[in-house]
Symmetry: C2
Subunit: 120 residues, 2 copies
Amino acid sequence: MDFYLKNSLPIWKQLAARLRERIVTGEYPAGGHFPSVRELAAEAEVNPNTMQRAMSQLEADGLLVTSRNFGRTVTEDAEVIAATKKALAKERAAEYLESMKALGFTAEDADQLLRTYIGG
Amino acid sequence: MDFYLKNSLPIWKQLAARLRERIVTGEYPAGGHFPSVRELAAEAEVNPNTMQRAMSQLEADGLLVTSRNFGRTVTEDAEVIAATKKALAKERAAEYLESMKALGFTAEDADQLLRTYIGG
DNA sequence: ATTACTGTATTAAGCGGATAATACAGTAAT
DNA sequence: ATTACTGTATTATCCGCTTAATACAGTAAT
């Protein structure tokens, strides 16, 4: 087992992640208007430049579409959103399993532990 | 839903986490000798100062014991190790569930997805 | 045309974590 | 006592992310 290190977890990536969640949960519906850079920057209390990077990322991901002065809208392609949601879920599950293995647990252990949470 | 941001994920915290895993998995057994700061720093390819911080943390956690020139040893208290392992596992499970909820899934969804991984 | 929104770009400054380069202290073994 | 390990501390430097402060461009509404 090796050391896997990431020198940083940039704010803008975290912002992108949170916005992605808002899209896949429908908080910002497909085809709907998306808040402006400045507006979201204010809400998150970060610099507009930082929020800008996050939103550029979402655009690169195909989740947002930009009109020069209409601002941004969520993609109308529900398929892209659904695929994103699915991919993220898989990612989380895989991460959970892997992190549990790193602690010395089996996948079955991981599942069992999870169910104790659901049960009570 | 709000924005929860952490301005950084310091290397030394990541190192501490990895070392913690090595302890709870028994890779470094209870009561056994623990590698030196410089040795682990070389293995992880980080600065000794950085590794030092990580190991100080583990000592504060009660997982390591330091003798001035014997170097460090893993605690002999198997109970502490077991409790740490359990607590980490719970943490991971809770994180998984929460992250899935953030994507719009229920706990049952999370469990079902997990089982598709285990099954095949 | 003026106002008020959009997105976008630029430059400088600040900050905190990681590194680098040492140095010191303590003890076991030779 | 010298060597060779330990842990620990200090100071300066580097670097990337974030912020700050603007500025510019484009369009819709007044």
